[in-house]
């Protein structure tokens, strides 16, 4: 069965610093990969997704992620974070034979002034 591991439950960072949120998945088949963000008291919102093609994917709000098949990773990055990026970030995977998303446990990004 597929699984997603988000290695960091919390990531504290100062404003304007770069950040990387790590995600690894376990699957031997072709997959789709997603990052969702959950702001306080709001629903999940898609940040970006990898379906095929270029391994570097750009999303909303200046975030990007790189698909690395050999390391089964899909780490999320932002070169300079803002206070407003404080939220919970979820990595998710689905395989091409099913439509359900398998989520990681989430990483709470806390941006300090």
């Amino acid at each position: 069965a597929q699984s997603v591991t988000q290695l960091d439950s919390q990531v504290p960072v100062f404003e304007e610093a770069p950040v990387e949120l790590r995600c690894n998945y376990s699957s031997s088949v072709s997959v789709y990969l997603f990052w969702y963000v959950q702001y306080p008291n709001q629903g999940l919102q898609l940040l970006l997704k990898y379906l095929s093609g270029s391994t570097l994917v750009k999303g909303i709000n200046g975030f990007e992620a790189e698909f690395n098949k050999s390391q089964t990773s899909f780490h999320l990055r932002k070169p300079s974070v803002h206070i407003s990026d404080t939220a919970e970030y979820f990595c998710a995977v689905s395989d091409k034979n099913t439509d359900k998303l398998i989520f990681g446990t989430g990483t709470r990004l806390q941006v300090f002034p």
């Binding site: 997603v4 789709y32 969702y36 709001q42 629903g43 999940l44 919102q45 898609l46 997704k49 379906l51 979820f90 998710a92 689905s94 091409k96 099913t98 439509d99 359900k100 998303l101 398998i102 989520f103 990681g104 446990t105 989430g106």
Partner: protein, 114 residues
């Protein structure tokens, strides 16, 4: 346009009671998903509808859980004989076609079983 809506936003019930949670997907979306998010966890897949039929119900934890989508639009998640362990946020999402297409999530229903 309107997003995915879920009612009620909060539901408090007693152990052993029956509850229904409703999801209104984005108009025209054929795929509808239910997930459950427990405290400190990521969303966990429950069931997926394509049109009126359940295409994948492998995530339903036991036979106390049931979901319907009779007209291919609104869906209702039904939980019988609720247990304290059922307490969680129940999320609904819809997608225009399923698969790689983006799933749009609703705000969720917070269920508390006393």
């Amino acid at each position: 346009g309107a997003g995915v809506s879920q009612t009620p936003s909060n539901k408090v019930t007693e152990k052993g009671k029956y509850v229904e949670l409703r999801c209104d997907p984005i108009s025209g979306h054929t795929a509808l998903y239910w997930y459950r998010q427990s405290l400190g966890q990521g969303p966990e897949f429950l069931i997926y509808f394509q049109g009126t039929g359940a295409a994948d119900d492998s995530g339903l934890p036991n036979d106390r859980f049931f979901a319907v989508r009779p007209e291919g639009s609104v869906s209702t998640l039904k939980i019988q004989r609720t247990e304290r362990g059922d307490s969680a946020v129940y999320l609904c999402a819809s997608s225009s076609r399923g698969g790689a297409y983006e799933q749009f999530f609703g705000p969720g229903t917070r269920l508390t079983v006393l």
